[in-house]
Amino acid sequence: MSGAGEGPGHGLGGRPTTGARTRSIAEAAWAAAGRDGERNGHGRTRLQWLMARFGRGTVIGIPYIWLLLFFLLPFLIVLKISFAEFRIGLPPYTPLLEWIEGGYLQIKLAFGNFLFLLDDPLYVVAYLNSLKVALVSTLIALLIGYPMAYAIARASPTWRAVYLLLVILPFWTSFLIRVYAWIGILKNNGLINNALISLGLIDSPLPLLNTEVSLYIGIVYSYLPFMVLPLYATLEKMDIALIEAAADLGCRPFKAFLTVTLPLSMPGIVAGSMLVFIPAVGEFVIPDLLGGAGTLMIGKVLWSEFFNNRDWPVASAVAIAMLIFLVIPIVVFQYYQHKHAERAEES
């Protein structure tokens, strides 16, 4: 309080000496600090320069190196094999580059593998079927995951932590073991059938395992956390006051959900759906273990090309084709979504 009365030009004639003394001391201290800072600053700048030059580069570079080593390189190898031809030997495909007489380097690109994929309806059918299974699984996961995520996001903080832990808990067990556990649950003398029979509800076991049903159960079960977690993240961030504002303006709860909650959770829906859909398309283990004999999925076809037919080039072509048909629509979709968002922001 007294400070306000001590200011230099006020008309009350206070104690100006005190103010002046304080200022001169402060000035000296400031000047000293400045000199000090300069000296330290010099050493620091060189270090900072080094950091800026290499340190930051390394930090940013590591993920890129990782992607290069474990994504791009294998992809290029697979791409290379997809243009080769099958042969019996080691490796089981022809080389792409070959020295021929006269010192010429010969490049042989075989497109036959890709044409073969179109020739045999098996591949197209398998691919379409994979899309269908992935799409249906994603929808089911969304229908189950949304209410789950919503409930978790609206639970009290203590319960929220417990529920989240429960969602993540299955990851502590191997994926394979969990799928095998479903065999135990679904098989003819498994948990469900035994329970139903002992309750006297059915006489003979229901065929559950190796059907479409068991396939969907397996995929939805396995990928549900990938749906719930991003949904939870967006729903939890959403301000409850928005729902209250909607109600306040005369909007009934369900309509408020449709007009406010749902559009605002769209990023979570998209992220969760991608995280379920993409791996589900190429899923191999679940259709193999839980799906029926007639379940034709591209991942399974890929597996049998590689390991049963040992036709690496065709298998690689399947892989590449799958990637292209999967990645391109997604990239296009995201591009348009991004543009749409930008346009909405500009206007």
Partner: protein
């Protein structure tokens, strides 16, 4: 300044009215629009709102004022329907609304965080409430335009909320909550997110808009000056209870408790004993003051009772000359002078050790102040500027 006698208990009719006398007089006969009857709200064991009864009249700008956590927001949320009272009734426009959900109440709320829908344009935000009533498209368009003009946001209709400044967002929130022409608009700290300058400007703007649309406003605030600037009447809350409801002027000049006197403006408070208790005057002896305090009217306390003498800083006078009176003065040393431009506040350390704050107006630019640090001065006040409270 009207020279009415200061009374411990007084009748409302004899009081001068607040800063908007016309408005208040007009509203004195207005119908009640909100009646809160013995409302209690508990969260577990905690009593957030405690036996509150309150009547708010049609067309009034009513403020709920109180410190943090005193239950203002909880009370407002019960009016909006977001919280159900644990006990008591809430009538809006004469109808019992205690159990009615928010979407069926004829009130709208402006949220402290504004709660604008981020995925909708300004226009769509304002139209949101009107769409719920399925009004014809053309009418919605007209009303939205009208509202945006009211808050001067016409050119921003197509923008998304996050491309607006804080002050603009505040006005979108206001337009949205007014669009449905509610009977009552509830505002929870409507200006808290604005900086000081914008806040002061917006306070008057808000009052202007309220007068134009004629809607009853209930404003929650913890800023005493804001309540004084804006409100026709103010309810002071403390720990879930309403302490006093009155015009800003009455709250300042006739506080009924120590809490109100201290909360609503600055005050010098001295504890004392009633030593003489006559119908036409009283005498109070305080350990903090050298001379007894004389007040020219009776109060509803018995002789010997503990009372508090509340003296506003601007109602004290300082001088080098000893007053010629047996009452209502003391002396001390000038300990500090706070210069605030228009006024200066002198901190006087009385001989009893108590501190008295005195404000004086700086009327002359060139005047040399004749009282300065460490001077010995006399502090005095008129008996009719003395407020006595009993608790």
């Amino acid at each position: 300044m009207t020279d009415t006698l200061v009374q411990g208990t007084h009748s409302a009719s004899s009081r001068p009215e607040g800063s908007r006398p016309g408005a208040v007089l007009r509203r004195a006969e207005a119908r009640p629009i909100i009646e809160i009857q013995d409302v209690v709200k508990t969260f577990g064991d905690f009593v957030a709102v405690d036996q509150v009864s309150l009547t708010i009249r049609e067309g009034e700008l009513f403020a709920l004022l109180g410190g943090s956590g005193c239950g203002k927001t909880t009370l407002l949320r019960m009016l909006a329907g977001f919280e159900r009272p644990t006990a008591g009734r809430i009538l809006i426009g004469g109808q019992d609304m205690t159990q009615v959900p928010p979407y069926d109440r004829p009130v709208n709320m402006m949220f402290q965080s504004y709660a604008l829908f981020p995925h909708m344009s300004v226009e769509a935000n304002v139209a949101f409430g009107l769409r719920q009533d399925s009004l014809p498209k053309a009418e919605i368009r007209d009303r939205v335009r009208q509202m945006l003009d009211l808050v001067q946001l016409g050119p921003f209709a197509k923008r998304k909320p996050h491309h607006l400044s804080g002050g603009q967002r505040q006005r979108v929130a206001l337009a949205r909550s007014l669009a449905k022409h509610p009977k009552v608009l509830l505002l929870d700290e409507p200006l808290a997110a604005l900086d000081k300058k914008l806040r002061e400007q917006t306070q008057l703007e808000l009052v202007g808009i309220q007068e134009r649309v004629g809607t009853t406003f209930v404003v929650v605030t913890h800023d005493q000056e804001e309540a004084m600037t804006m409100a026709d009447r103010v309810a002071i809350m403390d720990s879930g209870r309403i302490i006093q409801v009155d015009t800003p002027h009455a709250l300042y000049e006739y506080p009924n408790t120590r809490y109100v006197a201290e909360f609503f403006g600055t005050v010098n408070m001295f504890q004392g004993q009633l030593i003489e208790d006559e119908p036409d005057h009283i005498l109070i002896r305080s350990d903090a003051l050298a001379n007894p305090v004389y007040v020219g009217h009776g109060i509803s306390a018995r002789g010997g009772a503990t009372v508090w003498v509340a003296l506003r800083p601007e109602k004290l006078a300082i001088s080098r000359v000893q007053p010629d009176s047996p009452h209502n003065w003391d002396q001390g040393i000038v300990e500090d002078i706070v210069y605030l431009g228009g006024i200066s506040t002198y901190h006087i350390r009385l001989d009893s050790g108590a501190l008295a704050r005195v404000t004086t107006q700086n009327l002359e630019r060139m005047a040399e102040p004749d009282i300065t640090w460490d001077d010995r001065v006399f502090v005095s006040w008129r008996h009719d500027n003395t407020v006595v409270v009993t608790g």
